[in-house]
Symmetry: C2
């Protein structure tokens, strides 16, 4: 089973990387670009074939290691 | 219009960040974790409301700034 996890800064948390990207796009002449936010995506292969168990395990990975839940949100997608 | 862009290392390109995450998960006792790859996700607001033009513009942003197309792939999703 494959999983994709998105880890993004919570709304309201300052995102200097995203801001830098937005400014660089403006400097290159791209108009009409509003807020830019940058996060991480983690693609993972799992031996587990049970989606419920896999999702539980991924949630625990996010809580314990992958995300800093004080400032970051995570989303888990199982991609079969 | 909102867009989400995924920037991931091409297949075959060494991903030390992903490897480190995989090893940390194993050290924490998570079993059955196979290959782990880490990439970037960029969420962006665009003033453009035409999906075809927006996608063209995003493709150009990826080629010129956001992705290093020698070693990275990008995927563009328009999310309305």
């Amino acid at each position: 089973m494959r999983a994709r996890i998105h880890i993004t800064l919570k709304r309201g948390v300052l995102d200097p990387q995203g801001k830098a990207v937005g400014q660089a796009l403006a400097a290159l002449g791209f108009a009409g670009v509003g807020e830019v936010r940058q996060g991480k995506v983690i693609d993972m292969e799992l031996a587990d074939t049970d989606p419920v168990r896999a999702r539980d395990s991924l949630r625990e990975m996010c809580e314990r290691l992958l995300a800093n839940t004080v400032i970051e949100d995570y989303e888990i997608d199982l991609t079969g």
